[in-house]
Symmetry: C2
């Protein structure tokens, strides 16, 4: 198998490291520093300057807006294109009918970013959601084999269900963590104990990436926020 890794940040670099020995890995990143570092770390075997270069398996590991642009056109020469965006409905809606695409989302990651934060073990034992495109269900077994090669657990899910679940378990928690950090910005550090640290850790992830995710999944995130508000209000009323 030949792999093309498009996007060599934390996730792309981790994928490349995890796929060592599975086949030749070619990498591309618009940031030459990221590309060079991923190569130096052994996450890819070679670099290309052509973002549209194909391979048997193409892994779209860039941020959501880059994925949205990438899936909108066909890619002759690719047998499977798999992405990693945390939001699936807008991605599935943008897929070109000729693209052999399966939507993906590894439930992994840290509050870090960049190729220096990549780890070959990042996906080990973690769920990896797979969303088949309409009429492309025959690609699922191949996508599942790649997920298993990463050490992850393939979980088939519909795009709407995925985005509603993740709004509540990932996107809203990030938003709460980030908002707590902001609301407490002027308080002395001495008041921020172990609970605060644990609770706000997800809010330390890269803000630009999260702005994209929130914008692309704002309907389900608003719905999750309404549910959380109802739970908090009920608890506050019970305390009165």
């Amino acid at each position: 198998v030949e792999f093309m890794l498009r996007g060599l940040g934390m996730i792309g670099t981790s994928m490349g490291l995890a796929l060592a020995g599975e086949g030749r890995r070619i990498g591309y990143d618009p940031d030459p520093r990221h590309a060079a570092l991923a190569l130096a770390r052994g996450a890819v075997d070679a670099l290309t300057g052509d973002p549209q270069e194909a391979a048997e398996v193409v892994l779209l590991c860039g941020p959501p807006q880059a994925v949205l642009a990438d899936v909108a056109r066909p890619l002759p020469g690719a047998a499977l294109v798999l992405d990693v965006a945390s939001v699936k409905v807008p991605v599935m809606a943008a897929v070109h009918p000729e693209l052999p695409f399966v939507g993906g989302h590894p439930l992994a990651g840290r509050e870090h970013s960049g190729p220096e934060a990549g780890e070959g073990a990042m996906f080990r034992g973690q769920p990896f959601f797979l969303v088949p495109a309409l009429g492309r269900e025959e690609l699922l077994p191949m996508a599942e084999r790649i997920v298993q090669a990463l050490g992850a657990l393939p979980v088939r899910v519909g795009a709407e269900e995925h985005d509603a679940m993740l709004a509540l378990t990932s996107h809203l928690p990030y938003l709460l963590a980030r908002s707590l950090i902001r609301a407490a910005a002027e308080l002395p550090e001495v008041a921020k104990g172990p609970g605060f640290a644990s609770m706000t850790r997800p809010g330390l992830s890269p803000e630009a990436l999260w702005q994209e995710i929130l914008a692309l999944n704002r309907g389900p995130v608003r719905e999750a926020w309404r549910r959380l508000q109802a739970e908090v209000e009920a608890a506050l009323n019970a305390a009165d």
Copy 2:
């Protein structure tokens, strides 16, 4: 110095363990299993069945409602009474004028409870808030020496300031974590990734204790909740 530890759960047991070698430690807990386990773990030198037994230094380590009852009466024979409740305004308001009291709150703890969760190192390097009662400022140096014996860092603060800070950095985070767990109760575990785990960890603390804290600090917690809602709404509007 002779210490009386009233309440031998996680915090009282940790204090007893940390004070080993500082003086004789007598313990009391209304739950005989807790008392026996704290003794067996070496957190106290002896047990008493009299909750009103005095000693030179009395440490009130029970839940907030027990502390409120304890501080409302004098305690002849005590040179210093120090509590550990996470809420200070209601405690300071309940203090009997003849009680040699200093309000305390160690910013430590885990999402566990009971004497089995006690650790002598729990307070090491952590802030320990101290709130002097009106006209009792002369007790502060003695309270600070005990805090230092625990390995903690004494931080003087007013009761109102303390409760407003902790509403935002501790009580609201707990409430958010608990509410997130409830809102996501019906979702499959597979959707709950590392961010969700980190964010909801504070919500695993004992619910009964937290109900007391929320009820006693509901004004500042409601104010913190309003501030957080404003931050979240601003971020959601920015994503539209």
